[in-house]
């Protein structure tokens, strides 16, 4: 389910079925890294949207957690821990983070949820059907991470 009023309404009536929160992590940088940051956001947006389509009934796609690249990591982590606490408190059993920011790889242990890190693929020169095939193949691999995680707990 997406973070739109119609889907959230469905979520509220079917809360017991939707036990997984997906939070995209968007780094924002200005200046030199701007273009790269935009490409990463574009890629993760498309990918999470497709992921949501596959698992509509069990995941809630959160608005992205966005942070400045230049921000202190201690602050970023303390912010995300606040998100985590609220998400868990509202009844979600699983949290998945989707990002292409490499920095998270080394901080995976500090997260309570599962980190899915993917190298960002530039989409600017692709046509729609190429994008779809590419995202489809990426999501196919991620799907198993989800199903495995669910299987363990069901």
């Amino acid at each position: 389910m997406k973070w739109i009023s119609q889907d959230v309404e469905t979520y509220l009536t079917a809360k017991e079925y939707v036990d997984t929160a997906v939070v995209p992590l968007y780094p924002v940088s200005l200046g030199e890294g701007m273009k790269q940051s935009a490409a990463a956001v574009e890629f993760i947006t498309l990918l999470t949207a497709y992921l949501e389509k596959q698992f509509t009934g069990r995941i809630l796609l959160f608005p992205p957690f966005t942070y400045l690249d230049s921000e202190q990591w201690d602050n970023i982590l303390s912010d995300i821990h606040k998100w985590e606490d609220s998400i868990v408190a509202s009844g979600f059993k699983h949290i998945f983070y989707v990002t292409s920011d490499l920095e998270w790889r080394s901080r995976e242990d500090e997260l309570n949820g599962t980190l899915i890190w993917l190298p960002s693929i530039p989409l600017e020169h692709m046509n729609d059907s190429q994008k779809l095939t590419m995202i489809d193949s990426q999501v196919k691999q991620i799907i198993t991470i989800f199903t495995q995680k669910w299987h363990k707990n069901d």
Binding site: T56, G57, R58
Partner: protein
């Protein structure tokens, strides 16, 4: 010069009939269009979208067919890609099923559950459907998968808007 000369009376009656006919047609045409408008509307709503799937290539094994159409969300127009599971049944009739689970809307896959290789399987809450799209009792879904109306044109498959089935 022609031998049968047109008399003034004849000329006037011909022109009057002609002009009168045009006027009558001008008045009647919009009225007729209004009267049959619902028929024309229904055709526009049942728009069919072309897919890349050749009808001749279909077998009795369901395949995923993707197709794209334009969707408008407020001012934001975007291409939406949807899929269908298409196969031919034993009688050779084409069946096109919507992959959207009737439980909470996940995407179902064909044969992805190892215990039930000849069923549609929803990975979210383990819902299952038989090959004809009927929901398996005891699993979460409460209705059979929607069906796409289809058309064949130049050997390619065209799909319409998925419709829910009445029998449950």
């Amino acid at each position: 010069m022609s031998k049968d000369r047109v008399s003034r009376r004849q000329f006037l009656s011909y022109t009057l009939t002609g002009v009168g006919g045009f006027m009558a047609a001008g008045i009647l045409m919009p009225m007729v269009r209004f009267a049959v408008d619902p028929v024309l509307k229904a055709e526009a709503a049942g728009e069919f979208v072309a897919t890349k799937q050749k009808v001749a290539d279909l077998t009795n094994e369901p395949v995923r067919v993707d197709f794209t159409y334009k969707q408008k969300d407020a001012w934001y127009e975007s291409d939406v890609t949807e899929s269908a599971w298409v196969y031919k049944d034993d009688a050779g009739k084409i069946i096109a099923l919507s992959p959207v689970c009737k439980h909470l809307g996940c995407t179902v896959n064909w044969g992805s559950d190892k215990a039930h290789p000849d069923q549609f399987f929803c990975p979210c809450h383990y819902g299952r459907y038989t090959k004809d799209g009927t929901n398996v009792p005891g699993t979460p879904p409460l209705a059979p998968l929607d069906v796409y109306p289809f058309k064949e044109k130049d050997g390619y498959l065209y799909l319409g808007k998925a419709k829910p089935r009445k029998e449950a």
